[in-house]
């Protein structure tokens, strides 16, 4: 599980759904949750939260241009690549944190990913879980 700590910087809600923005060391992440105006407001500005997302939900990109719907896209540097017959694990450093991505070995080969290389990593808003940190 990838985990990053941050603070809520924005909440936009409809009746049952909210997009929560989380500031992680200056980068803005977004998470979409099934909680809206109709329920209790569990997420407030400045609340301390941990964002969680699975390694298998992290995509990687190189030389990405054009428009893309994914809001969560950040730069990381590849620290290590472990390649298996089907799956590969790409370990990156991102602002002092470690982010892992599990993608197909085929993609690693196709993208010619190498250690020390800068890549963009992406995760969809609806794959990001929020965990409230005890005050």
């Amino acid at each position: 599980m990838n985990k990053l700590k941050g603070n809520i910087s924005g909440v936009q809600s409809s009746d049952n759904i909210s997009i929560i923005n989380v500031d992680v060391n200056g980068d803005e992440f977004s998470s979409i949750v099934l909680e809206g105006k109709k329920g209790p407001s569990n997420y407030k500005i400045d609340d301390n939260v941990t964002i969680l997302f699975k390694e298998t939900e992290v995509g990687l990109a190189k030389e990405l241009t054009g428009l893309i719907s994914l809001r969560n896209r950040f730069k990381g540097v590849i620290k290590r690549i472990d390649k298996g017959p089907i799956l590969a694990r790409v370990i990156m450093t991102y602002r002092g944190n470690t982010i892992e991505s599990i993608i197909s070995s085929r993609s690693v080969t196709h993208m010619k990913l190498k250690e020390k290389e800068e890549v963009e990593w992406l995760v969809k808003t609806n794959e990001v879980t929020l965990m409230k940190n005890p005050a």
């Binding site: 979409i32 949750v33 099934l34 089907i86 590969a88 929020l130």
Partner: protein
């Protein structure tokens, strides 16, 4: 509504401590008392049952006062109309299942209930057998329905399923749930099993050193509500299989078998039988009519 507000000084292996609790059981809820051994759970059950006298306090069930130290009221065990089920079955060995149950009837008009109860716990075919010829799970079922047949005002369960294997526990959990829903008798349940708590209880009281440190719905108390995921289940790990850089974890959730992918780092500390919370965002599952 059941109110239990009592104090009692005790000496444990770690020295003297005091039970000092104030708990309310609204309506006909099934509530769990959860805590490490030596935290006072059994003493609390004994005080509710009338087997141990509190130093001071008040125990009321609906409008009846069972214990009031100020007014010097202390009803006897018999007057309190409580049923208790422990880990041991305590069935009469020389009586058949039906005779054991008939013996418990307060009102002989309830005779017809025996068959209904036997059906709920799937024992209809074994009514004429002696307890010794039944398995542990079957004997515990007889003990459970015998306790219900007494039509108690309050039902106390002290780790009734802990001597049973996992499969049998799941079945008896379902049956306790069915019996509770059918007869709505307020129940205080002592257990260490998280699955039992999540499945059966409406409210949990966490006991530490004689005091209630936390209480609420199981999800609130165990921090599971801290996660925003809406697709959440508690289950048990059945197998852990490694594939490349991931583990495929088979988890039994209720009667369903699911598979979840985890990383090596996560799976390193997990063992078969561990209880786990499986969570996903509400957006991920695909739903289809069958």
């Amino acid at each position: 509504m059941i109110k239990i507000k009592v104090k009692k000084a005790l000496v444990s292996s770690r020295g003297p401590f005091q039970i000092n609790i104030d708990m309310n059981i609204p309506g006909k809820d099934l509530v769990t008392l959860f805590g490490p051994s030596g935290s006072g759970k059994t003493t609390i059950l004994r005080m509710i049952a009338g087997l141990t006298v509190p130093d001071e306090g008040l125990i009321t069930v609906d409008d009846e006062v069972w214990f009031d130290s100020d007014k010097k009221i202390n009803r006897s065990v018999q007057e309190r109309q409580i049923s208790v089920v422990f880990q041991d079955y305590n069935l009469f060995p020389n009586m058949t299942v039906r005779e054991n149950l008939r013996y418990a009837l307060q009102d002989k008009k309830d005779e017809g209930l025996i068959n209904e109860f036997l059906e709920i716990v799937h024992l209809s075919g074994l009514a004429d057998r002696l307890p010794a010829t039944l398995s542990g799970g079957q004997q515990q079922r007889v003990a459970l329905i015998r306790a219900f047949l007494r039509r108690p005002k309050l039902f106390l369960l002290d780790e009734p399923l802990s001597a049973l294997d996992f499969e049998m526990r799941l079945k008896l959990q379902d049956e306790i749930q069915a019996l509770h829903e059918r007869f709505m008798i307020p129940t205080v349940f002592v257990t260490h099993d998280l699955g039992e708590i999540f499945k059966l209880s409406q409210r949990i009281f966490v006991l530490e050193e004689g005091k209630i440190s936390r209480s609420g719905k199981p999800g609130e108390v165990f921090g599971e509500d801290m996660l925003s995921g809406k697709f959440k289940f508690v289950g048990n790990i059945l197998t852990l299989e490694k594939e490349d850089f991931i583990y495929i974890v088979t988890v039994q959730i209720g009667n369903n078998i699911t598979k979840v992918v985890a990383t090596e780092d996560e799976a390193r500390d997990w063992r078969v039988g561990d209880r786990v919370l499986v969570s996903a965002k509400a957006f991920n599952p695909i739903i289809m009519k069958v």
